[in-house]
């Protein structure tokens, strides 16, 4: 008998505690598979955020640190500086990274820290029950924008990849989506690339996953994918923003 599919070694045996239809599990699996495939597991450590993926430290079967809300890139900076022989990634949601942790992500990127940041954008605070996120779309209803996000009052959603792409230091910035098997396969390639650059100590690498929140969007798994395709992808365009690896190879 031949094993053709198995749980990645970089995931623990724990069952994910995410809601039905949530894509965190897919993102976790892509990262874990990539770490396995690149043989990075023994040297890899990660940082979990505050938010729905707060328990990521239980799910990744490597050494993990749990950060205060938004501080993951600062922890990762301390970790990488303390153990330059090891590799570090953070895993953060949109509230964590693009609101309370804005300073930490911008400055870690600006220093060109040799870390990989995985940013899951589903346009809402999931863990706390569906409040408005910095990435909540215009007119989108949440529990704290019950009449729809009023951009004249609270501003437009923040496009983090575009923001970080104004900085000189980042090495790799790409936005991918997780809305279909084909998009997941593309996302996997980006994850592999970012972690390869991480392994090769090229510099700061950043991946944004456009994701969903069926529970707080009030949709089922498939509807939420359609909703994301229709509403999120036009605003958060899937593309590579920066790949210094390609520039350097020229």
């Amino acid at each position: 008998m031949q094993v053709i599919a198995t749980r990645p070694n970089t995931l623990t045996d724990l069952n994910f505690t995410y809601c039905p239809g949530c894509l965190h599990g897919v993102a976790h699996r892509l990262i874990a598979e990539a770490i396995d495939e690149l043989g990075m597991r023994n040297q890899m450590m990660g940082v979990a955020p505050v938010g729905c993926s707060v328990f990521a430290y239980k799910f990744f079967n490597i050494d993990m640190q749990e950060a205060a809300h938004g501080r993951a890139p600062a922890l990762a900076t301390g970790m990488k500086r303390a153990r330059p022989d090891m590799n570090v990634f953070t895993y953060q949601g949109d509230g964590d990274l693009a609101a309370i942790g804005t300073a930490e992500i911008v400055h870690a990127a600006n220093r060109g820290e040799h870390i990989t940041v995985f940013f899951v954008n589903n346009a809402i605070y999931g863990m706390t029950g569906g409040q408005m996120a910095p990435t909540t779309l215009p007119d989108m209803k949440t529990t704290t924008s019950p009449y729809g996000r009023d951009v004249d009052d609270i501003g437009y959603p923040i496009r983090v990849c575009e923001l970080l792409n104004t900085l000189v230091a980042p090495y790799f910035i790409e936005r991918v989506s997780l809305l279909s098997p084909a998009e997941i396969m593309k996302a996997k390639k980006a994850v592999l690339k970012a972690l390869t650059y991480n392994k090769e100590e090229r510099g700061f690498t950043f991946i944004e996953f456009v994701s969903t929140c069926p529970t707080n969007w009030g949709l089922d798994a498939l509807e939420s994918r359609d909703w994301a395709r229709e509403h999120m992808l036009p605003f958060f365009k899937v593309q590579n923003f920066r790949d210094k690896g390609i520039e350097e190879a020229k």
Binding site: L75, T77, G78, A82, E104, V106
Partner: protein, 364 residues
């Protein structure tokens, strides 16, 4: 004996930290501790260490968290308003059982306050400071020499108990120059030993397949029963620290003391000068100087209240914070009086003398 060098407290504690094996320092500039961050910026690279000027105090303490979670000696420093910003991270360090050293070169507060020496962060340093049930050890130096010596002590205590340790200095100790004699720098072998002391729990390479370890650095326990056990274990640790680590200095404590003075840090220096002058004039005044303000040396203060002591007077550069601990220590045995100065202003020796003399009169 090592050579004595004339140095500012801010620079002396930085040099001493490097000698004590600190190779990771993260901070943000603030007066009156900027010489510390500047010294680290100059000297850490020469020591093969890491210096990062963080984007904020919050980022700096979280960088310390990350480095400490990798088992390495890490430090940050700041002054009062900046220390307030670090309290989030200090609470997380305590909750995650992480060692770290935090230097607070106190200035006047609240809020932006001023940039002169003060002791207004006593409550913050001795009552945890952030959210939740926790304590940090708080060491209060009174000379530049002691400030420097505390770097090594703070790292040793932090590693021993896996708990953050605060060095509670002030702007005077940071800015003042005094002769300092340094402990020898850790050798390569000693540094290696330090690096390996926490491998059983910290983030570190994972070479032992299939016995792959999974270390979690974390202060989250969502199950109340599990969190209860975690906090109770923290409580046991604080009990142990309280039992083992109280430090203080007795100054002219004897059975014939008429008045007992209690003061820490810079305030205690001024009190000593006043006491010397009064004792030269025939009085008998004693002083207890808490060196650890947490754990507080309650028993030492109580025992110093001799049978002839009519009153205990507490001198602080704040509105009266430690006086609460002194009252707990004295436990009603004699009255406790207080004199404070705020706004970053020091009391003069004459003012301290006058306050003590007034009580000597009353006692007659």
């Amino acid at each position: 004996m090592a050579e004595k060098v004339l140095m500012k407290g801010n620079e002396a504690v930085a040099e001493a930290a490097i000698r004590a094996g600190c190779r990771l320092y993260f901070a943000y500039p603030i007066t009156p501790q900027s010489e510390l961050i500047e010294y680290m910026a100059r000297m850490m690279p020469k020591a093969g260490g890491v210096f990062v000027q963080a984007e904020s105090e919050i980022a700096a303490i979280n960088m310390v968290y990350g480095a400490s979670g990798c088992g390495r000696r890490a430090m940050t420093s700041s002054s009062s308003p900046g220390i307030a910003l670090k309290q989030e991270g200090i609470s997380y360090l305590a909750g995650a059982n992480l060692p770290a050293v935090i230097v607070n070169v106190q200035r006047g507060g609240p809020g932006l306050g001023d940039i002169q020496p003060a002791q207004g962060d006593y409550f913050q340093a001795t009552r945890g400071g952030g959210n939740g049930d926790y304590y940090t050890m708080a060491l209060a130096p009174s000379t530049v020499q002691e400030f420097a010596d505390m770097a090594s002590l703070a790292f040793d205590l932090a590693d021993k108990y896996r708990n953050p340790v605060v060095i509670l200095a002030d702007g005077l100790l940071g800015q003042m120059m005094e002769p300092v004699e340094f402990l020898p720098a850790k050798t390569e072998a000693e540094l290696k030993e330090l690096d390996n002391q926490h491998l059983d729990w910290c983030c570190c390479p994972n070479e032992d397949e299939p016995n792959h370890h999974h270390h979690e650095i974390n202060s989250l326990e969502i199950d109340p029963v599990v969190l209860e056990q975690h906090v109770l274990r923290l409580g046991e640790k604080y009990d142990k620290i309280t039992a083992n680590e109280q430090r203080w200095e007795d100054y002219n404590i004897n059975a014939d003391n008429e008045i007992l003075v209690v003061a820490f840090g810079t305030a205690s220096r001024i009190c000593k000068s006043a006491i010397d002058e009064l004792n030269d004039a025939g009085h008998n005044i004693g002083l207890v100087r808490p060196i650890t303000v947490w754990p507080y040396p309650y028993d030492a203060v109580y025992k110093a209240v001799g049978d002839k002591v009519k009153k205990v007077i507490v001198f602080e550069l704040n509105l009266g914070q430690m006086v609460q601990d002194v009252k707990i220590a004295v436990n009603g045995k004699v009255p406790v009086d207080f004199m404070g100065k705020v706004g970053g202003i020091l009391f003069s020796t004459d003012e301290v003398k006058a306050k003590i003399a007034e009580n000597l009169e009353e006692a007659k």
